[in-house]
Subunit: 348 residues, 2 copies
Amino acid sequence: LENRQILLGSQTHAKSSLRRFIMIDERVDEIYGDSIRGYFRHHAVEYHILTLSTSEQKKNMDTVLQCTEELETFGISRRCEPIIAIGGGVLLDIAGLVSNLCHRGVPYIRIPTTLLSLVDASIGAKVGVNFSGHKNRLGTYYPPLATFLDKSFLRTLDSRQISNGLAEILKIAVAKDKKLFALLEENGSSLIQDKLQDMHVSPLIIQHAIQGMLDELAPNLWEHELERYVDFGHSFSPVIEMRALPELLHGEAVAIDLALSTVLAYQRTLISTSDLNRVLHLIKTLELPLIHSVCTPDLLHEALQDTILHRDGLQRLPLPTAIGSARFFNDVTVQEITIAIDALKRLI
Amino acid sequence: LENRQILLGSQTHAKSSLRRFIMIDERVDEIYGDSIRGYFRHHAVEYHILTLSTSEQKKNMDTVLQCTEELETFGISRRCEPIIAIGGGVLLDIAGLVSNLCHRGVPYIRIPTTLLSLVDASIGAKVGVNFSGHKNRLGTYYPPLATFLDKSFLRTLDSRQISNGLAEILKIAVAKDKKLFALLEENGSSLIQDKLQDMHVSPLIIQHAIQGMLDELAPNLWEHELERYVDFGHSFSPVIEMRALPELLHGEAVAIDLALSTVLAYQRTLISTSDLNRVLHLIKTLELPLIHSVCTPDLLHEALQDTILHRDGLQRLPLPTAIGSARFFNDVTVQEITIAIDALKRLI
């Protein structure tokens, strides 16, 4: 309660009392709303809480404009009153875009409350919303003033939400961190059961995952380089996720993409049978799917075409070359993808 | 026709033919559409032209989303196919925001066709749209890949559009360039009559105006410093313009703000009677208004409050201290504003 870090921001010139506009996920408000309100009252902050019911379907420009309208009514100074966003990835992505667009940019603070947002959405500068059936098609790069990470929020998640976040951790593990992969193999089930509340393994896993992301994003925050290891699991998944809505969570679509990419790598003899099996087995241990009925060759071809546009004319498809390493390929064919889909379907 | 500069952009990786998405003002399309299409055909470019009927009322997020939808249908690569925007300030501001939001940023090229956009909207990095009755309330900073200036476009403008642009030139002149002010005094009427097509004075005036803007904007492109000489004429005018829509053009609202600020400066004995008269006389010579019926003390108070939010808690109001110089003030009162409005009303 006495921690004033969340009130970070420079002093306004004209006003005597602190003012804050807070955006918060509906579910987070249900659980933590009273203590959050208590915090701002305790610090005599004039605040307005905007509670959002979030989902990938509602992650659109309409929601952004509703938020900016409410922000406009509250009135916000341009530099000194950071928007505070508390919630999962959808909320943080919306809040980031609202913050960027209003007055061409007001500062904002990210407080992730899900595992997925803790290790993924809060790292880096990307904000945005879905548009025209495309995942995150409208957005900007807009880094927050600060991000506060508190894994005690994970306590109240259901296990599917934990698995959802583990998919992004698995991505980092397969693409570039075999130590992290081993940690997931050894602790996968208990991570889900304990919701990462243990004091030994989970901090290590979260630290590896975030450090892995930071190492990739920090030197390439604006994506001048389009061959990105963090795109592993994100070549087919945007279209899979959007087409399967609301059935698949983001991390579940990523897991399917990881499985598919790993099988593609195996078919090209980039990885051994043993590595293939370890990856597929770990996906199952983490209670994530290997495939989904929307995954037809046509759909995945469409997904790849969209990815090529997004990666400026080349596939730049990261495929694992071992557990903990990957390379980029530009010549994956629809035939290979069709064979990979069939292989995955036989596994389930 | 042989000039390939407008096709600026790096080579795409996968495609053999150049592709370009072109956004163009309806009026520009009427006059220059055939030759523009001829140009792209001549260079064997696969192109799509989006013709927009623009106005301050249509400068909103709905229009941005219609454009992104059409862009999405055309399909655009992320780095190699700059959007080409040809038109006035409203079109360029919309095109800039569309370019920033799509794929979190595709390159774009600005080709201004009005005097206002030539000396103002195409300089700097600001893009945006009106929102919730507020001028340019939603937007970002997103510099173009290139801007091509061609004053022969001005030939087909009506004289009101020329005056509209001269207001922004006058702003630079009063705030920081007495040589430019003298050029406007000596040539005001003929500039409007010739639509800046002469080969001697107009290039000099345009060069002074743009250089004056660049000197201010280049070291402060992201507005970390909120005391900006280029905000002269832009403290009261955003609200005046939005409230008087569609009666006042942007430059006309700016001229009223210039007149008001100059009278405020005179009331504070910052400038002489002679300087006051020169400024007010030049505004009239340039066929711009000194005041408008929406300008009540209440409205201008509201405008100032909004400006204070936008300037982070302080008025930071630029007032002239002579012709060609200005200083910033934070203590202008409603009473002073009321007296200034009355003074201007007596002048017309």
